[in-house]
Amino acid sequence: MKQLIKYVLAAGLVALLLPSCKKDLLNVENPNTITEEQFWQTEEDADQGVNAAYAMFYKPGGWSRWIYFRLDLTSDEGCSKSPWIELADWTRFQYVNYNFWEGNAITWRDTYKAIFRCNQVLANVPAIEFADNTKKDLLLAQAKFLRGLYYYYAALMWENIPVVLDVSKPDDLPAQVPVAQVWAQVEKDFSEALAVLPVEWGAVDKGRPTKGSASAFLARAQMQQHKWPEAKASLDYFFTGAGAGKYNLTTSFQDNFTHTNENNSESVFEIQFSDLNKGGDGDDPNQNMGHNRAQFFAPRGIGWSDGQARYWLVNQFKQERTIANTLDPRLRASLFYPALEADFGDKVYGRNWEWGGDEAWFRKYQRDYFRSNEDYFAQNNVRLVRYADVLLMYAEVLNEMDQTATAAQYVNTVRARSNIAALAVGQPASLLGKDAFRERLKVERALELCGESVRWADLKRWDDLTTAAKVAVVAQRDPDFNNFVVGKHNRLPIPQTEVLNNPNVVQNDQY
């Protein structure tokens, strides 16, 4: 019996150490961050949700890197001589692997990643109580503006895509819609944003979209659909509406591409880049807020040189001189080219010209104005819409509405900033008719806006890619267009895994 007591005591002692089987023992809370359920409760949550949507500007599928390959290099202004052949092939209509990440899939993914962030705001913020509902409306309007912007560029690139307007679920298989319906959504988002956004933001918030930003993008969407009167109505904001007198061209053309004079009088909408965080481009702490364009577009030996400018631009700049009989000053700010030093006294990142005699690179957004090398953290804002662009858009709309004579003054304003004579003096032939004026506008836009990611939309809007004959003309400037198949290459293939894995999506025709 004594033995037994000993055993029982011993067993009891051991049993003391048995952990209880309480149910909640397994309920381990995540100590790292809050859950989705706990979020979207306060004004601050709403603020941060909108900010996270802006942060998508810093992601590589979009405006920190790859989208420039789609909009600038694929157009006749740019090209790629990258030794990374597949990357270069994607700027010359040689699409083999539709899943090619850098050329296609990442931009598609980041587009929808941004839309997901906007949709979260639009779905969750309405239920949050605000002390001041104006603030709530402003947040929703920003989310709509951003969603509209992503759908605008997606419509330009892929045309027929799924339009996702609700918060995503893992098993979603959204249905593809024809491009006209995508445009309708773009117009709706920009219109609704326009109604609420302010004419100006305070100093701290400068950079968020204004009525001007929304008007310009709405007009762009309308112009792509050749809705000229509607586009004019949208652009009237800058001339007869609340935006009249708010915008001015900067004296120095170069001020539109450096980090030293951002959000200036010419800025209609620009992406706010910064080098404050020198981290990676994932969703981690210290994530990069700069862009990589400068590193990817810098000449060989300085950056990757995955993209460069077509040389016809240099020739085009040299065709018309200033009133003072000097070279167009925009050439100096726009391009690196062999005679840059001879013409303007500028070296290339401090180097003599060591590249091909018929080669050129984009100088806009490169940072040679203050450094001799490049990295992944470029802080200079990318201007998505400048007032100069608005002037040229207005001129184009007026011309299409048969008001060519009225249109000329807006082009002249842009020319005058660079000390180029008025059209009547410098290019009188352009005033002879609607078609002549349109052809001149194409040149004016290239001179003013080359390398600013508008050319792909321009070519499509001008119907320059709709017949083989027209494409042949473009191909004279950019031989990559010899590969262009009408009806096929006016939009990208949809990433193949998205087609295969979603029964509600079919591949774009001819792919």
Partner: protein, 1019 residues
Amino acid sequence: MRKRSFVHLFHGQCAQLRLKVTTTANVVLLLLTFFFTQSVSAQATHTVKGKVSNAKGEALEGVSVTVKGTSIGTSTDAAGAYTLQAPNAQSTLVFSNVGYAEIEMPVNGQASVDITLQIGTADLNEVVVVGYGSQRKKDLTGAVSVVNTSEITKRQTTTVGEALQGLASGVVVRGGGQPGSEARVEIRGLKNLSGTNPLYVIDGMITTANRDFNPNDIESIQILKDASAAAIYGSRAANGVIIITTKRGKKGPMKVDFSAKTSTQTTPRWDLAGKDEFVALNYMAYDNAGVPRQNLNLNVNTDWQDAAFQTGNMQDYNVSFAGGGDNGSYMVSANYFDNKGTVISTGFDRLSFRVNSQGNKGIFSFGESLAITNAKSDEMSGNPYADVVRLLPTIPVYDDGNPGGFGYGNESMARTFGSNPVAMASLEDRALENFRVRGNIWGELKLRPWLKFRSNFGYETSNDNYMYKRKEGNWTLNQAYDPAIYNENRGRFESLLIENTLSFNQRFNKHSLNVIAGQTYQRDDYGQIWGTKRNILQNSSSGAYYWVLDQGSEPQTGGFLQKGILLSYLARAEYNFDDKYLLNAVVRYDGSSRLGRDDQWGTFPSVSAAWRLSNEEFFNVKGVNDLKVRVSHGQLGSSSGLGYWDYMPVINTFSTIVMGAGQNLFPGATQVRLANQGLRWEKLTQTNFGVDATVLDNRLSLTAEYFIAKTEDVLTFMPILMTTGNDGGNPAVNAASLRNTGFEFSGTWNGKAGRDFSYYVTANVTTLKNKILNLGYGRNNIFTGTTVTEIGTPAGMWYLLETDGLFQNQGEVDAYQNKDGIVIQPTAKPGDIRFVDHNGDGQITNDDKVVLGSPWAKWELGLNAGASYKNFSLSMNWFGSFGSKVYNGYRSLVDRFDDNSNYRAGIKPWTPENPNTDVPRAFYGSTLNSRGDTDRWLEDGGFFRLKFINISYSLPDAWVKKIGFSNAQISIAGQNLVTFTKFDGIDPEFNNASMFERGVAGFQFPNLKTYSAGIQFGF
């Protein structure tokens, strides 16, 4: 950043453990105690003594001596002696010991029974550890492999996993080779889509046998392969269990063992073009494309493999001290392992200590295992195996014109984006150091001879420190500028295990019953902090940097925590009637914190049975010594591969934006990664049929198994659409179900010729098929770039364009039309690849892709053979894998001419003069002939390789004794010395971790050729 990686280690953090008296447990204990007290009553006994020795006449200690049909037993002491009280003079004694054939000997009234045990010709009598207990191998009802430990210790490997290759059927090992790297072990094929690593149990501690573990400490290894065998370990056992028991001291004077091994390692090399051949091919590719030739520097002739690779070596020193007395024993070991890698600036070293001890007093016994290890690896920067291929022979290793002083090509003379491995090795330094303490202590109360209570407490902790040092300078063409950067992280891992089991073991006449019931609790915690600084201070005169986080500017910091808990209740009953009928049942109730709150718990039962025909009266087949058939059916739950909180969508608060002229910083927060809430247990149901036979005087033993394993509700990170906007990894989902069926055969023949020569041959054959039964989200297939996973077929089948030779002339191009007369490849030129237009639409598009083979091996073979003659012994191990189609990523790089890389030596592209080739014309700048998604890169992945060969010589006893040793042996060995394969890469035995791209041979670190020599002695 093009490429950027931080090491992320895993695991959790601390929570308060609630303790409580479980009164129910006490009551049960008491009841059991009273109930069974009377079962064995005293009667007239018979005392038997004796001595047990081996064939050489040496005393054997620790031999189990039991009276057949009772629980009476003892074990021999250091002199091999035993004494026991048999119930009567006609009892039968059973002698068994690990590694020896069991013997039954009737007492026949004698007072002394001496026995000589023979080395286990039929290893069925081995005692094997099966988790929370042990069984005789011959009583097994499930699928368990016992690994021959002496084969493992002969091999020179960093980890146990690497050493297991080919030693057990159904176990496939890939990887290793790289200093400090850990191999992937896969038991019985793909069971889920998230991971395959089995559970490791070391001396009862549930853990991983990672690089910190010293393989020299291993006493035995058992591999539990089927659900019924592994069921007792529950939720983490779905991929099988590897049970490792480390050496322990035995009764007797202290025994000292010392071993030293040294090895030389060489890496296999690519067969690349030399300078002249490269230049000719490069010119040809440019000329064909009409592109002006590069201005190649013909004065340079760099062999990049010479620059990046070196002869590696390994040193492994191990010493152990073991001994014991009546009431306790100890084993202390120390190990130093050092590995200089075959890639420059890589290496690994490990210092480890172990103390295992045990003791007993009365009914109480205890034991502990404690291992302390410090392991440090100097890690590889970039991937030199790819870079030596991408770099051109005309690029010099050093070039003073470049920042940092290294050559890496030049835009006009040598365009490539390969990275200079010498530059990376010099400018980047990555090191990972782990200090780990792993141990457990157990206590056992033998309440009655048939009733034991055991508590096991395990604790493991590691301090992990990763350092990345980046000096200023470039290693690739057009590289973005970076200043000197220092990144460091420190993490702490902690794992706590508490287990309590009660076991009951009783025999009644011919019935024998073992029951065990218990509870187990394991908590894992991990926490990490990291910091990065840029512009690290440099000493302007010496050029040295000050690698501390106090220096530099632009600080970045971060940190995170992980924590997971598993709580389980388990029970097992083993019933044996007359050694003829064996029945085994296990049930486990598992709870995991990683699953959805409403689905944390699952119950997983399994049952197995065996029938030993050879013990039946009616069984009288000549030559058959033992014959057993067995069947098992069981279910396991798994949550392996899941993250800690995958069931809960969270908010990512890391985005920031700037606004305004002052660059005002605003925080952002949003959901980035989608989540499926309500994640539940993945369920593996496995049925196993087995036959074990020993025939021909125990000389041939055979095991055959057939199994069907079906996994449902597979927890997988199945790709979802990009239109969801999901990022940060696909969400976990209980999606697919899949089935594995397989056949395993293992046979061992032991032979003797004459007095001094003996030999053995063991063959393991495994065939395995997996099939997808169901995919998640209602989908029928999952496509990745080159593969498709479809219902009804194995996972990851090749899905590619089919090639059909080359066009020899323009006539063939024009004649290649579909049925409507459309020329299918109108832009093709002679020498281009002809693709098959499978959908007949007259053009080659993605729609022409078809399934073109399986990446899975049809069968695998392990062959172990050994022989001994006098004091010499030879052993070798061959491993073969046959019938897989693999994608040769290397050839898809060197056999393309659109890009600038080096080329395969001897390659002859198509030219009008060289039409009889399957290599298309060389053409710079166009991917049309070099596209990756075609069957041009598929190859037969089969191989047969001599994994290991060893010759050892035991010094004659007479000499050894003279110098005071008890034994001494010298040996030489080689690993991966001979390979037969048609595969055109450096290593057909590659490891691709991606479940959907299993057969893609990229530039994985290869298996190395190793030559080693070792000495071992004891005294």
